[in-house]
Symmetry: C2
Subunit: 99 residues, 2 copies
DNA sequence: TCGCGGTATAGCATCTTTGCTATGGCTTGG
DNA sequence: CCAAGCCATAGCAAAGATGCTATACCGCGA
């Protein structure tokens, strides 16, 4: 959050070594998405089991997701969004800094 | 694509179960993401093979993705975003109105 | 202490995407 | 006519996520 300089540097190595930096970014994204869902869930006052039922999952799947244990797929994100009464936003946008 | 036999067949497996609507949304999202990537790629004047090399994929994978043939995973979306010099946005937002 | 609700983990079966090679059709340029 | 580039698709192996059951941990209240 403070600065993104170091990460930008890592990003350039991706061109030579597929699977290294992306995996890191994906893990971070998974973690943040999990945190978002947990926040939304708690805001509704639901337990993991409650959310699981609403989104067609099991409690263990919700726990794994909230912990960032796996990189979620879009279908799962959509089901969670629907269950939480929010909409999922996925897209590209221009990058605001140098490469 | 008035009939779209391929599409229908692809989703038919789950149309009878709860969660079918989400699966459909995922397919549509895949399609739109593919279109976005194709636009960005052509804007750069790159071929699928060029983009593939930059993002650590093969031409066939890019073609499949652009056609919406599969629902992409977040790691792939991030690699494509990096290759295309854009940033990937994934998140939840309140439903029912513009941001 | 016991039971209970909530959460975290483990292990496994299944499904989907990805990565890869190869090929066919199409268009353009020599 | 032939060659080259570009895109689409097929088929397969590998990787990873999901779905599921079961279980362990924790705090809390009866």
């Amino acid at each position: 959050m403070a600065e993104g300089g170091g990460w930008a540097a890592m990003r350039e190595r991706r061109l030579a070594e597929p699977g290294a930096a992306e995996a890191y970014d994906a893990a971070r994204l998974a973690f943040e998405l999990g945190r978002s869902v947990r926040e939304l869930r708690e805001r509704q006052g639901w337990s993991q089991a409650q959310l699981a039922k609403r989104s067609g999952m099991t409690q263990s799947a919700v726990a794994r997701f909230e912990a960032g244990g796996t990189v979620p797929t879009l279908p799962v994100l959509e089901r969670l969004a629907a269950a939480l009464d929010v909409s999922l936003k996925v897209g590209f946008e221009p990058r605001g800094h140098a490469a």
